[in-house]
Amino acid sequence: MLHILRQIAKCGIKTEPPPAPADEMVIVARLQKTILRVLGRALTIRQIDAGSCNGCELEIHALANPYYNIEGLGIRFVASPRHADLLLVTGPVSKHMAIALKRTYDATPDPKLVVAVGDCGCSGGIFGESYASCGRVSNVIPVDVAVPGCPPAPVAILQGILTAIAPGP
């Protein structure tokens, strides 16, 4: 126990300040200001891997590490779409995941936001569209914010999430 406490004390607080929202990431601003105010600083996210290579997932995991400390911003990853305000989707959407993705989207209560993560989620990336791939996320469900990068760095993903919930003009 003493070891653990000593290690915690020695590490101190590693958390860095969050990035500012970015205008260039917005695809559609579908939500009204008032709703965003209701969401406030308590946002719940359901992550869906719709067929990615797992690279984006690794960077989403990184958001939970002490440096980015996403939970400290009031953002939580939840286990069910029914508890979620925002879907964080990585792609390309494989044909085998298209139905599961649509059903997850439908199971998420309105108002909801969708952030597509990674080059594949934004455009189909290197996998493109084929007999097995539907390509970009917006080919299957509506997308509000798209975060490019292969994979995007954790700060970029965080910026995408914050952009999605930032009050519009």
Binding site: Q7, S52, Y67, F77, S94, A100
Partner: protein
């Protein structure tokens, strides 16, 4: 198949007509068949009909198919093996999981909390990687290779480059191969650190996750500074590597190795002393040596079940022939053994990184590729962090890829998890699963 059609057409024109009959009439419309068959050969004729017509034709050719007559896409019944009996019930999990992980479906048959049987249904991440390779040039293929499984970008990038270089008969500069090994060992360290954190977390010890995820982030950030990419994607290219390391980067990596070594040993003591964690790890998800051998378990998971296989030791390609890798091993085969092997391999990788930085030969980091003009096959194999990654490549004329098949260690290891969970309780499944941490994308392609 398309090769066979071409040969017949050449030797005996217009004697053979190839027909494809769908056994999935509900989904295979003429349009679907047309686009599917176009991937194989333009002369193939696709046929579909009503369920009854298909059944009649199949009967005449003595072919069996199990697709039921009334079928809507997405509502198919998948023939899971069912266990029945007093108190037995079924738990369906996925393909959208509760955590941030890849898509796959698990069907548990349980009595109380005890797992009687688990069946994995994969392929949700199937996105046509092999066919995609065939549309790319040899040079562009390495970008796709690095994205077969994002956590093994270096292993796949290297295996692909090996195959290309074998086809080209290219002799690589020593510095390039040593830098590749440096990347591979850094990839191993990053992945083991991440998983060691999640294993602590899944055992109810959140302290472990914050500590190890902090260390992993340090590794990824240094990767970004030195090689330009956190996950080291596209650093390895056919012909060499894209980034050389400056003297100050060498010093930075050395300092990081020393501090990681110190911190990991300290955290290992904490894990070993933590009674609650050890209670979860010990005897959990056991794979005996006999089972591991029978099912061909590979990689670090096999080494945790007493299988002494590591390509870096058994079949050391340069520079591993000069590095004398100490193979980790354990005979217990449970989660605790896999955790122990991961600790050992992480520390060994840190030692290897130090050795590589000490002995890094001078020279160029990239050699120009020749043009590829003929059909020629070659293999690449690399001991990635999860296990041996294989890649078979055949070049075509005009620098094209004719065929490429990547083979992930997860392919052999997924069925072993079905056995490893039998008799364990359902809440231990995440722990067992994470102790292997297999790739869905690398398996599903």
């Amino acid at each position: 198949m398309s090769q066979a059609i071409d040969i017949v057409q050449k030797q005996a024109p217009n004697t053979l007509r190839s027909i494809f009959i769908s056994c999935d009439p509900a989904r295979d419309t003429p349009e679907v068949l047309r686009s599917y068959l176009a991937e194989f050969h333009p002369s193939l004729i696709g046929l579909t009909g009503t369920w009854q017509e298909t059944k009649d034709v199949c009967k005449q050719y003595r072919v069996y198919f199990s697709t039921p007559p009334e079928l809507k896409p997405g509502e198919e019944d998948y023939p899971f093996v069912r266990v029945s009996g007093d108190g037995v019930h079924e738990i369906a999990v996925g393909p959208v999981h509760a955590g941030t992980i890849e898509p796959g479906h698990f069907r548990f048959q349980v009595v109380g909390e005890k797992v009687l049987r688990l069946e994995e249904r994969l392929s949700f991440a199937h996105k046509g990687i092999e066919k995609r390779f065939e549309t790319l040039s040899i040079a562009d293929g390495s970008r796709l290779a690095a994205r077969i499984s994002g956590d093994s970008a270096v292993a796949y990038g290297w295996a692909y480059a090996q195959a290309v270089e074998a086809i080209a008969g290219l002799e690589l500069s020593q510095r390039a191969t040593w830098l590749r090994a440096l990347c591979l060992e850094r990839e191993r360290v990053a992945n083991h650190l991440g998983d060691l954190g999640y294993l602590g977390n899944d055992g109810g010890f959140a302290f472990g996750l914050s500590q190890f995820s902090r260390l992993k982030e340090d590794v990824l950030r240094l990767n970004r500074r030195v090689f330009g990419h956190r996950l080291l994607m596209d650093v390895i290219v056919p012909g060499g590597v894209t980034h050389d390391i400056a003297p100050e980067s060498t010093a930075e990596m050395r300092t990081q190795c020393a501090s990681l070594d110190r911190e990991i040993r300290l955290l290992r003591d904490i894990y070993d002393d933590h009674a609650g964690l050890q209670d979860r790890f010990r005897n959990c998800g056991r794979v005996t040596n006999e089972l591991a051998t029978k099912l061909g378990l590979c990689g670090f998971a096999a080494r945790a079940s007493g299988v002494a296989d590591d390509l870096r030791c058994n079949f050391p390609l340069a520079p591993y022939d000069a590095l004398a890798v100490r193979r980790a091993g354990n005979r217990d085969g449970d989660v605790a053994a896999r955790v122990a092997v991961r600790f050992d391999e992480t520390l060994e990788s840190l030692r290897l990184i130090d050795v590589i930085l000490d002995a890094l030969p001078q020279g160029d980091i990239i050699t120009a590729l020749p043009r590829f003009r003929e059909f020629k096959p070659a293999l690449g194999c690399v001991e990635g962090w999860r296990g041996p990654v294989w890649l078979a490549l055949e070049s075509g004329p005009t620098d094209a890829i004719r065929r490429c098949h990547p083979h992930d260690p997860s392919w052999q290891n997924w069925p072993v998890i079905e056995h490893a969970v039998i008799g364990n309780i359902v809440p231990d499944f995440p722990l067992i699963n994470k102790s292997f941490n297999l790739s869905y994308s690398g398996h599903d392609l």
